[in-house]
Symmetry: C2
Subunit: 220 residues, 2 copies
């Protein structure tokens, strides 16, 4: 642990219930963030492919075995986060009368605000790697589709559909696909756009489809 925990500042809300369950658990969290921080640093220095797990282990001061004990794949070290369950919880908290899309918009905005203020650098790096490293992009899509499965349960409940219906599954995955594309677009355009704007435009497209003619009254 050469430097401080700059990458993971104090959270404004708890991610799990138990605050300080014991020395063992605290150490595990420390190891986890140490591995992640080491990875981020090395990737920034050398790039993703040039960074080996051995190097990561060395800098994080753990053994390579331990790295794989904490993260199933190298890609997971970069892109795992803990926002998903949080997002789901927030979503279920929204009033049932609220139009579904409004709920989604609200929750996504909130998630972005939190993420962008807390882990701005990490989020950009992640989006950047998504563009550049196919393996990371793949894993991201995979991970998002897992999120999607949970999301589809929430959507099914809200819209009164069967959870396993094709319609819900397709709708959710199309949502996920669209959301994934935001990050790529954002990173490819050097993070110039406001992520919130991109999100709003994306949700509008998914809600209403493509405008048939180029829209001159848009935000851009």
């Amino acid at each position: 642990m050469p430097d401080n925990d700059s990458m993971t500042p104090a959270r404004s809300f708890p991610l799990s219930d138990a605050p300080q369950p014991g020395l063992r658990e605290r150490k595990k969290i420390k190891t986890r963030t140490a591995i992640r921080d080491a990875t981020y640093a090395l990737v920034r220095e050398q790039g993703y492919d040039a960074t080996t797990v051995e190097q990561i282990a060395e800098r994080a001061e753990v053994s390579p075995s331990t790295v794989f004990r904490y993260f199933p794949t190298k890609e997971d070290i970069v892109l795992t986060d803990e926002y998903d369950p949080l997002l789901l919880a927030e979503l279920r908290k929204r009033p049932a009368e609220e139009p579904w899309m409004d709920s989604l918009r609200y929750v996504m905005h909130k998630a972005i605000d939190v993420g962008l203020t807390e882990d701005a650098e990490a989020i950009r790096l992640r989006a950047h790697l998504m563009v550049q490293v196919p393996a990371v992009r793949s894993r991201m899509l995979e991970s998002m589709s897992v999120t999607g499965r949970m999301l589809s349960e929430a959507i099914a409940d809200r819209t009164g559909q069967d959870r396993e219906s094709l319609e819900v599954r397709v709708y959710t995955m199309s949502l996920i696909g669209g959301l994934a594309e935001i990050s790529l677009y954002w990173a490819e355009n050097d993070f110039r756009d406001d992520f919130r704007d991109l999100l709003d435009r994306t949700l509008t497209v998914i809600e209403h489809g493509l405008p048939t003619k180029p829209d001159a009254s848009g935000t851009e």
Copy 2:
């Protein structure tokens, strides 16, 4: 059934322009299909993970090096096909007045009809692997998103949007995500459904969004 070309029957239309450019090219095609057929056979016998590239090479009677020369990754052996450019071409052939969704529906139907009569077994195996092997699923999404990039150009042209606009990209990827989900749904339900029905229902969802209430008048 080990040897003949049962896996790749005579095509009802040409995939590339040059028919018989020479012995060299013909041999390459033969090697390519030999590797693919060997892979399919081995995967059916032992499963995907248990099948090594060495075994594939042995059965295809080539060296492991050659396998990697023809396919960049093991997953690509399973899921590479040549339908994409075909599909794009068909799409551009549709009359410009035709509503966009109708064009897409028509072309996808055609692709499914062709694929399902020519490579029915292979397509099922592929869908099955998509469900079971994460690496294959990831690679499929990746490959579909490449297709998506081409698709988005066609969509952009047809709808009069900029090719690089966020809207087109998001729309395309949401389409891709939805389409990918069909295969998963189909395979998870043991191929009981008619793929064409699933496709129609999927396109309807993408076009009109989720029905707010479970629809009793549907096809099911």
